[in-house]
């Protein structure tokens, strides 16, 4: 049998590499902009399209799906071809994948600042883009499996197991979390409501971290680290345990994002238990990576690429130890909703994802351009300024989170809240936010230096778009000896492997999701909780558009410190008409679940116009455009119809008279404002959002009768 000659496609790797760097700089710059807005609200340039609530999801989407996403595809397209000894299945599919993914990112760049969002964290993009993501993901899957089928290497290496698990799990997560009913072309409502929606969202949200930010990166670590160190992976057996245990356990851990909420207690406990167990496989992977460098630590001293990899693995170990600790209820009680979580996330994002990406770029770009890295000194500068950037970023935020978390819980000896004004706890941590933005600035500087270094590297070399290679073809399966060992046989059967991975992730998903989604007694109804009026519904959609939930939660946890501050703790039955749920995950401002009726309409008007008028020192941006922009009532009918379809009991035909009720309620609010010498038309957006805010928490105050 003669070896076959073929060519690796390096052009697609280069393209994804360029996109990684460009989108990385864009996403991090937006991150820096919103970090500055936290202590200088005017940094939004008094423009609705650059205000915190709208561009925070742009930052998260840009760094997760644009920066990390392109880095994943760069690493997968490079390593997959070489591990399988085959060119990608189809150059056309590679190109469709690349340009399709960039178009999706551009659509996010346009729609999110416009306020077009589902409000589901890390899944904000509206339904037409969801469909586009599905199509492009399938294209990626066909291209990947097509390459696997035409491979010249019998067994699939551990990196490819992680790629397969990533593909199949992200597909499941994306589909289940995108069950929306379209209202207009750019507006939809989640099919799930309240606590069910929260469970689905955080099952998705946590596993987006697991299967987008972790498993593909572990796959890349298993390929690139041995290549960089020129040593085999420390333990293949450990990688088997690492892989199966990680994908099995990760899928259960989502409910730790919902501790002390109205999610059934058993689901919370399940999330905590599996989060603790998650330390074992996570650290198994980290140890496997670090021990790969056994006997090669002298190389780490001189090789900047290995330095990046070591810090990345260390950050992975820190983040995956801290995650389970944060899921302990006592720790979570202080840390949740605080900057502690932001610090935790960024140890993973900046350290693990960022540094592993940089290490791969520095190793890979010179190779595909057949040259040396332009400047090792600049790369070393990048490493040190990036490491300093991480430290300056996370340490102040840990400090801030711990400080604010404790302040919010502190009582005086007389039994009163020591810091009853939420704003006081915010102003205390502003210096930490300033330092954090300095850290972000250092980190971003390093990335810009890397972009320059890699550009010069590319300019001094020449892209080897089609890299020649040779390998023996695979013999037909029926001509080779039967292999012993179940896993060994599985390693050469990609479809069976994918089905096994799918079954493993579905077990946890079914056990965890199904009872809450199907057993009605999990959600006791409350007789006094009624659907939103048309004006409140429109106001709620404005609340979503402006991204208010980026800073304000809508769930009061059963702590005395919270019930004293906000009012009665939240009940599951309060959220049965909330499509989507708006509990939030961060408190830069106070919880709003019980804000209704607390202040007069005039307070809300003045507060939205200039928050510092009502709360001196407030960091909330102005929302002047709500006063000038007319409310779009042309969508009311479609919204009522859509809500009815997903179970909200609006009477038949109500959609035809909904705008009449909307006008009546809006005029009443405008008249009330007029009595406070505020002249504003009832047709303006500020009237609708005021109506919504005044409704929050009032149902349960009206009638506390609970029926099962």
């Amino acid at each position: 049998m003669q070896p076959e000659k073929f060519f690796y496609d390096n052009k697609i790797v280069r393209n994804f590499g360029i996109a990684t760097v460009l989108w990385g700089i864009a996403g991090m710059t937006i991150g820096l902009l919103i970090a500055v807005q936290l202590y200088y609200p005017g940094a939004n340039m008094h423009n609705q399209y650059t205000t915190f609530g709208r561009i925070r999801p742009l930052h998260t989407n840009a760094v997760i799906f644009a920066f990390v996403g392109n880095a994943i595809f760069m690493g997968v397209y490079y390593s997959l071809q070489r591990l399988l000894k085959a060119r990608m299945f189809s150059d056309k599919l590679s190109a469709i994948h690349f340009w399709g993914w960039q178009l999706i990112i551009v659509s996010a760049l346009i729609t999110l600042p416009l306020g077009i969002t589902t409000s589901h964290e890390y899944a904000e993009l509206e339904w037409p883009i969801d469909i586009a993501i599905t199509i492009i993901w399938v294209v990626f899957g066909i291209n990947m499996f097509g390459t696997i089928f035409k491979r010249r290497e019998r067994h699939l290496y551990v990196a490819i197991w992680f790629y397969i698990a990533t593909f199949v799990t992200i597909a499941v997560l994306h589909i289940v979390n995108s069950f929306e009913i379209p209202v207009t072309f750019w507006k939809s409502y989640m099919v799930y409501a309240g606590v069910q929606d929260a469970l689905v969202q955080w099952w998705y949200g946590h596993n987006a971290v697991a299967f987008f930010l972790t498993t593909p990166y572990l796959g890349m670590m298993y390929y690139f680290l041995p290549k960089m160190a020129n040593r085999p992976i420390y333990s293949y057996k450990l990688s088997i345990l690492h892989f199966w245990a990680l994908i099995f356990i990760y899928i259960w851990a989502g409910p730790h994002h919902l501790l002390y909420t109205t999610l059934p207690g058993w689901a919370q406990s399940l999330g905590v238990a599996f989060s603790i167990m998650l330390i074992a496989p996570s650290w198994g992977g980290m140890i496997n990576g670090l021990l790969t460098l056994r006997g090669a630590w002298d190389k780490v001293r001189d090789d900047v690429v290995l330095k990046f990899m070591v810090v990345a693995l260390t950050a992975y170990g820190m983040a995956t130890f801290e995650g389970p600790m944060l899921s302990l209820k006592q720790v979570n009680a202080i840390a949740h909703f605080s900057d502690w979580i932001i610090a935790h996330v960024h140890v993973g994002a900046l350290g693990w994802n960022g540094f592993l990406t940089f290490g791969i770029l520095y190793w890979l770009i010179p190779r595909i351009y057949k040259t040396e890295l332009y400047s090792k000194k600049l790369a070393s500068f990048h490493f040190w300024i990036g490491t300093l950037g991480i430290l300056f970023y996370v340490i102040p935020l840990y400090w801030a989170g711990f400080t604010q978390g404790l302040m919010l819980k502190e009582f005086t000896p007389e039994g009163m809240l020591k810091y009853p004004n939420f704003l006081e706890t915010v102003l205390r941590i502003v210096p930490m936010w300033v330092t954090r933005s300095l850290g972000g600035c250092l980190y971003l500087t390093g990335v810009i230096v890397m972009a320059y270094n890699l550009t010069r590297t590319a300019l001094q070399g020449k892209l080897l778009a089609n890299e020649p290679a040779q390998a023996m073809p695979l013999e037909p399966v029926n001509t080779i000896a039967r292999e012993s060992g179940w896993h060994r046989r599985l390693e050469r059967r990609p479809i069976q492997f994918m089905i096994a991975a799918l079954l493993v992730i579905l077990i946890g998903s079914f056990v965890e999701l199904m009872p809450t989604l199907t057993i009605s007694s999990n959600i006791p109804t409350i007789a006094s909780v009624k659907p939103y009026t048309p004006l409140e519904l429109q106001g709620r959609d404005l609340y979503i558009r402006e991204g208010c939930l980026a800073c304000h939660s809508q769930t009061v946890r059963p702590f005395r410190s919270e019930t004293e501050r906000y009012g009665e703790y939240s009940k599951a039955g309060e959220f049965v008409y909330d499509h989507p749920f708006l509990w939030g995950s961060e408190r830069k401002g106070p919880d709003l679940a019980r804000i209704g009726g607390k202040y007069p309409n005039a307070w809300h008007y003045n507060h939205l116009m200039d928050p510092r008028l009502m709360s001196p020192g407030s960091i909330m941006p102005d929302y002047n455009w709500l006063i000038t922009q007319d409310l779009d009532t042309s969508t009311t009918k479609a919204k009522i119809n859509a809500m009815r379809k997903i179970g909200v009991p609006y009477p038949a035909g109500y959609e035809n008279i909904a705008n009449r009720d909307l006008t009546t309620q809006a005029d009443a609010i405008a008249a009330d404002l007029s009595r406070d010498h505020i002249k504003v038309s009832g047709r303006k957006e500020i009237i609708a959002i005021t109506a919504y805010l005044q409704r929050l928490g009032t149902d349960i105050k009206a009638n506390k009768t609970t029926t099962k």
Binding site: M1, P3, S79, R82, L83, K85, R152, E153, R154, H155, Y157, V158, A159, Y222, Y223, P226, K227, N230, P232, I233, S235, Y236, K237, I240, L241, W244, A245, F248, I249, W252, G265, W266, A267, Q268, S269, L270, A273, F274, M277, K329, Q330, A469, Q470, A471, M472, L474, I480, A481, E483, S484, G485, W486, H487, R488, E491, V504, I507, G508, V511, P515
Partner: protein, 63 residues
């Protein structure tokens, strides 16, 4: 913590016990797989990234 845990799971033990059993069975199965994996195969698989430029046959790993 444990007071909270016991209170929360009251009446819903089935889910937790079922989940624990699934995990236990899964863990035992994977451990058995590890135990019966041959060293030659493990070494062959570990070396795959380092041999991606080698032309030789890769039809099967050493028995």
């Amino acid at each position: 913590m444990f007071d909270q845990f016991v209170k929360d799971v009251s009446g819903k033990q089935l889910y937790l016990i079922f989940s624990l059993w699934i995990f236990l069975v899964f863990f035992v199965v994977v451990s058995i797989l590890l135990f019966i994996t041959k060293k030659q195969h493990a070494d062959h698989m570990s070396d795959l990234p380092l041999h991606d430029n080698v032309i030789g046959s890769s039809n099967s790993s050493p028995q």
